[in-house]
Amino acid sequence: MRYSMKTHPLEEQNVWEKEVLDRREFLKRQLCGAAFLAVATTGIRLPDALSAADIPDLAVCKGLPGAATRAAVDLLGGMQAFVKSGNKVVIKPNMSFDGGPETATNTHPAVIRELVAMCREAGASRVRVLDHPFRQVKLAGIELAQEACKAFGEDIVHALYDRDLYRSAAIPGGVSLRQTHVMVDVLDADVLIAAPVAKTHNSTGVSLSMKGMMGLIHDREVMHRDHELDPAIVDLCTLLRPGLVVVDATRVLSTGGPRGPGKVIQMDTIIASRDTVAADAKTVQMCEWYGRRFEPRQIRHIQLAHERGLGRMDVENLTAKAREI
């Protein structure tokens, strides 16, 4: 194997640029958020976790990929809050690009490994790490994920191409996209965990947990051809609703995504939430994209999802806990 996880410089390197927010900028953003919330009318679903006061809506942890992943999930109440004993779990990372961790096109293998380990600790009966790559060749992303999960002693990581591994599913909440073929494993799973890498996307601005759901269905072409892409992503997200989102922003592909190559920024950050819209929105807000800063509402599918009540993008109004390891 070309890239050994243990000696990977990203794991050892502990330098990250601090996100600097001066007071003015902070206030400005607060105001924007408040203004937007006022505009964004009624019908916003409040997150379920709000009842438990000490559990934040968002967890943001800095550190090595594996450790930060565990810390972020722990801040949300630990994996046992999401995965019950005997549950079947599907984890959806990005792993369909042919590049190592340095390209920031795939979720870091250490993040995937940590999530699998935590699911197993929580008593999951079956954990699968699945994706639907476009190319049917040995891809570095898949190979590295498989390598990382080797220690668990069974084949956990799979690339699913065959139509027989997908099943037709109606999307009752869909406006435009009303039916698609979803991985049988996902339809039969008790818990879905989205674990995207933070990266840009030439069509949708960014590709995070919501856009990543396209990696669980068979025919993605129709979403481009027969529908408008952004509303169709939201339609899909009404069906595929991860219980937990863990965004890998340890490295961020800040330009040239989703395939790269592009500018890779080292953030050493993991963003976790129960709310897929909030996780994506927080990631958009926190990271630099094309050398600039953007608001979550500037990503159309995030805004649409917020408007349709799938989650909240007004991250300023959500509780967040941060931790450095």
Partner: protein, 548 residues
């Protein structure tokens, strides 16, 4: 099981194994195209038509030399076509115990020489019709392009059938096993050919080998007076059983005489002789008489080669024929996107024997046999078919498995520069250009970064542009384009780099090309490519996908 049958089985097993191993990634100790090297017609025909003494030729010359000593042992033990014909004979022959030779007129045996001379006559003028009659080429097509897809299909059905059980018992490797069936064009021509060849085995064992096989004809010419010969002792009771049983009909009315040109050293006669009078052994040259058999009619043979020359002339003057050209091929037909590393079209057609080895090995199934687009001599030659699959950037197997050098064996770095064509946009079909939809799948998939996306006035979304200098023609854009029927971005063999010799990289650079694939793990960590041109400009203030 006799010794000959054991050798035959081993040979066929090896043939099938090597063909199966012709795949990406290529892992094989022996060259997977080895059996095509053994075929004397492939050697003689392509050497003549391609004006080229191929590096592999010594293999075929070795077979010829051994034939000079041992007779047509190759036909009797090694040839996979012969084995298939034998097998078909066993399966479909009549109720009698063994197929019995029917007497066809002896002059029918001349047909194989005439086919041979027809092909060589055409090859004289540089037109290769080897694919028409080369036995190994046919059997490779049968196994690689017909049987392999059928077996894959059946395997896939079997996997689908047991999948629920495997999932239930948590047999992960089986539950997630996936076989994709390769599909090929023009199967029915191959199927029809073999239907006829096999059906003929019902009337005469080894009908193909006796009457039609031009490779057999070359070997027969070498084997007229071999050292290892059939000998009949005085114990012969002239029962004629050997003559009846001989699959090649090489024994005449006098059982002690043999037509060595026709004998394939299978030793059936040794086994059938009730008085154990027949043996094979080394003799001094000419010490044992051979039966006259039939005599070659020189006039007819001359006529055959003349018709070969005539066929070549017609081919050379057809609209489809491509004249000599320099570095860049002037390919006339849109379909003719040749595999990366294919030599210039004229040489390519002279060398390609249409065996389908490259098509079998192609991981994306993009290599397909072409019909008449390249003229009659190009039938079964391979073309890249992006609509079916893209040319995989990490793969260079087609050139590695080509038996005749029609596709050059290039290292991956060189193959990257072997541009097969250029993509161009059909803007009137493009989701972004015509319908203002967010798409850009082409740019997402292009491994060569040959697609730029820019904002243009009047369109609300970013639209794709092809950078011809960076495009390799791999067709991943055409393949993945979501537009139905004809894709909105299509590859044509425009600007293909076709070199008979020399480095692709250097030539490509001279032409102003800039081809590179982002290698996995390349570059120092973290990988940063900051393109000053990229930021700000082209996006009209906003990067792709972001809104105000």
């Amino acid at each position: 099981m006799t010794f000959q049958r054991i050798l035959q089985s081993l040979s066929f097993f090896l043939f099938a194994l090597l063909l199966w191993q012709a795949a990406f990634p290529l892992v094989s100790i022996l060259p997977v195209e080895m059996f095509l090297w053994l075929d004397p017609l492939t050697f003689l025909g392509t050497s003549l038509s391609g004006r080229l003494f191929n590096a592999f030729s010594w293999v075929s010359l070795l077979v010829l030399a051994f034939t000079f000593l041992l007779g047509r042992f190759y036909c009797g033990t090694l040839c996979p076509m012969g084995i298939a014909v034998d097998l078909a004979g066993c399966l479909i022959s009549r109720k009698e115990k063994k197929p019995v030779a029917r007497e066809f007129p002896a002059h029918l045996r001349q047909v194989k020489y005439r086919i041979l001379l027809f092909i060589l006559g055409a090859a004289l003028l540089g037109v290769s019709l080897v694919y028409l009659a080369s036995p190994i080429s046919w059997i490779t097509r049968l196994c690689g392009l017909i049987l392999h897809p059928v077996l894959s299909f059946l395997g896939d059905l079997a996997i689908d059938a047991v999948r629920p059980l495997a999932a239930h018992w948590n047999m992960s490797s089986l539950a997630y096993a996936q076989l994709s069936t390769p599909r090929f064009d023009f199967q029915w021509i191959t199927v029809l050919f073999f239907a006829v060849v096999f059906a003929c085995a019902r009337y005469s064992p080894r009908f193909w080998c006796r009457y039609l096989c031009p490779s057999g004809a070359i070997l027969a010419l070498m084997a007229s007076k071999p050292l290892l010969k059939r000998q009949v002792s005085d114990e012969c009771i002239h029962c004629g059983l050997c003559a009846k049983r001989c699959p090649m009909g090489a024994i005449g009315d006098d059982p002690s005489l043999t037509d060595h040109r026709e004998c394939i050293v299978c030793e059936t006669c040794v086994r059938t002789c009730p008085s154990h009078a027949v043996s094979f052994g080394m003799t001094r040259l000419g010490s044992i008489k051979s039966s006259g058999g039939f005599s070659l009619d020189r006039r007819k043979l001359l006529l055959s080669s003349a018709s070969g020359v005539g066929a070549a002339l017609v081919t050379l003057t057809s609209l489809r024929h491509i004249g000599a050209e320099g570095g860049v091929a002037k390919v006339s037909h849109l379909e003719l996107i040749r595999p990366p590393g294919a030599v210039p079209e004229k040489d390519f057609l002279a060398l390609c024997v249409g065996c389908g080895e490259c098509m079998k090995a192609c991981p994306t199934n993009t290599l397909q046999p072409v019909g008449l687009a390249a003229g009659i001599s190009g039938f079964f030659s391979p073309v890249v078919t992006p609509h079916r699959g893209p040319c995989e950037p990490l793969c260079n197997v087609c050139g590695q498995v080509c038996p005749t050098g029609a596709i050059r064996p290039l290292p991956l770095e060189e193959k990257t520069w072997a541009k097969v064509g250029t993509a161009h946009l059909l803007r009137h079909k493009c989701l972004a250009w015509e319908y203002g939809k967010k798409c850009l799948i082409c740019a997402e998939f292009c491994a060569y970064e040959a697609l730029d996306f820019k904002m243009v006035s009047g369109i609300s979304v970013a639209v794709p542009f092809v950078n011809e200098k960076k495009c390799s023609g791999c067709g991943v854009c055409e393949h993945n384009c979501p537009v139905q029927a004809r894709s909105a971005i299509v590859v044509e063999p425009m600007g293909a780099l076709r070199l008979a010799a020399g480095a692709y990289r250097e030539n490509g650079r001279e032409m102003g090309l800039s081809l590179s694939v982002r290698q996995k793990g390349a570059g120092d960590l973290p990988f940063i490519r900051d393109d000053p041109e990229e930021e700000g400009s082209g996006y009209q203030g906003l990067p792709p996908g972001f809104t105000d």
